[in-house]
């Protein structure tokens, strides 16, 4: 356990030394959201109707953008190889990396999401649903994205490929996440949706670390 926290602390420290890594996903999230009123329609009635979907799609793209770098710098400077040969269990390292990625991307997105919700005229009763669904849904995005990142880390053009691999897997989270916000903003109960998002999270927490570890082993040994 102390090893887990040490690995987590290292990753977070690396992020804080390059502040851009925190700002970039958030700025991307805001920009994608801003494109919709500019590109489709600035009408408040229309915006409040599409807000749930747009915010979730923007969050998903921001996660996708940042997940590519989750192992890249460690792979390039050789420390990933050292982690693979170290006696510490790889699953723990993987979990620490995914958690640090989530804290930097998904967690921050959930915190600033009310800002975007306000710009999109989302009814105020939908705010708790938005924050809760992002808090429950984005860890799954980090976990699944890390599988794709592990598979493509050794490839030169991994960035484009990773979106192709990971986006189909993101679709269930998107559907239930946007559904939660939709239900919440209409004042309907959201427990069912949250339970589904939680179930998906538990399921991917159980299986994804093994897939990530296998993917890393394949990539590093190639």
């Amino acid at each position: 356990m102390s090893f887990f926290f040490a690995a987590l602390k290292r990753d977070l420290l690396l992020v804080f030394r390059h502040r851009n890594d925190i700002i970039n996903p958030l700025a991307f999230f805001l920009m994608v959201a801003v494109l919709f009123p500019l590109g489709v329609s600035p009408d408040p009635a229309f915006l409040s109707e599409v807000a749930s979907g747009v915010i979730w799609v923007a969050a998903l793209l921001a996660c996708l953008l940042s997940v590519d770098g989750i192992f890249r710098s460690d792979y390039e400077d050789g420390s990933l190889e050292q982690m693979l040969v170290s006696p510490e269990p790889l699953l723990v390292i993987v979990m620490a990396k995914v958690l640090s990625h989530w804290l930097v991307s998904g967690f921050c997105l959930a915190i600033i999401s009310p800002l975007v919700a306000m710009m999109f005229f989302l009814p105020e009763q939908g705010y708790p649903a938005l924050i809760l669904s992002l808090l429950l849904g984005t860890p799954t995005l980090s976990l699944m994205g890390a599988i794709g990142a592990g598979l493509t880390v050794a490839l030169r053009r991994g960035g484009v490929l990773i979106s192709l691999l990971v986006l189909p897997l993101y679709i269930p989270v998107l559907i239930f996440g946007a559904g939660t916000v939709q239900a919440g903003s209409m004042g309907l109960p959201i427990q069912g949706y949250l339970a589904l998002l939680g179930a998906i999270l538990v399921f991917s927490l159980m299986l994804a670390p093994f897939a990530i570890a296998a993917a890393l082993k394949i990539s590093v040994r190639s």
Binding site: I147, L164, I171
Partner: protein, 249 residues
């Protein structure tokens, strides 16, 4: 604990044995595929009674349903073969899995296209955002992802393993496609065939469909074996038996 596998399972792992074995099977499957497809098509398109609601437009079911079933089975086969390759380090399993991806992608396209053609007269639209249609499209994306990942690696061994991991991860999508019609209330009709229940159609209509499904599976076996055989020859091009095969061709 050691699990004892049957002898043929080990023999399949030998590329030469696999090549000879599938070479012996190919003519039988080809004949069966041609026979079943011709019988099924003629029976379904000419002799089966027309639907009381949809008239003759329902006849596309004889292409649409078999291709949809096959597109999903092909994914299952790809994932299972990939798992066998990962666990028992069997090269042939990776060859089979690699051969599945392009076939599955083209069959998924066929299922989507025939569905669109069927949707136009019955629903009045080429495409609707219905759960099953979308899930099928996602299946196509999964296939495309597998193909893209497979071709991105230069080293064959890591390409094999990486695609096997990805196809296993994508396996979670299969139950979503399978049950999408039952879980969401949508436009698409529920499954045509189930193992436990009697079909809702009269036998004159579902019998040719069954023949078509079997024909599609045989056709799939033929294409799969042909692709896998070529892949085996390419991978084993330095070995003596391949040289002999090429010389005697």
């Amino acid at each position: 604990m050691k699990i004892k596998m049957p002898r043929w399972f080990y023999q399949l792992a030998s590329p030469k044995w696999f090549y000879d074995f599938t070479g012996a099977l190919l003519p039988w499957f080809s004949a069966a595929a041609i026979l079943l497809l011709i019988v099924g098509l003629v029976w379904g398109l000419v002799f089966a009674p027309s639907d009381y609601q949809q008239g003759n437009s329902f006849r596309i079911i004889y292409i649409h349903v078999p291709s949809s079933i096959l597109a999903q089975s092909c994914y299952m086969l790809m994932a299972v073969a990939g798992a066998i390759g990962l666990i028992w380090k069997m090269k042939i399993a990776h060859v089979v899995a690699g051969a599945c991806a392009p076939i599955g992608a083209s069959i998924a396209v066929m299922s989507l296209a025939t569905g669109a053609i069927w949707g136009k007269p019955t629903w009045g639209a080429w495409w609707v955002w219905d759960a099953r249609l979308t899930a099928m499209l996602v299946l196509l994306f999964l296939y495309i992802g597998v193909i893209a990942l497979n071709s991105a690696f230069t080293n064959i061994a890591s390409a094999d393993k990486a695609t096997a991991v990805l196809s296993l991860v994508g396996l979670v999508n299969i139950p979503i496609i399978k049950y999408s019609v039952e879980w969401w209330n949508t436009l698409h009709q529920p499954a045509t065939f189930t193992v436990t229940e009697k079909p809702a159609m009269p036998p004159e209509m579902w019998m040719p469909l069954l023949v078509m499904v079997l024909g599609f599976y045989c056709f799939f076996a033929v294409v799969l074996m042909s692709r896998a055989r070529i892949d085996v020859l390419q991978r084993e091009k330095r070995s003596d038996w391949v040289k002999k095969v090429i010389e005697n061709y």
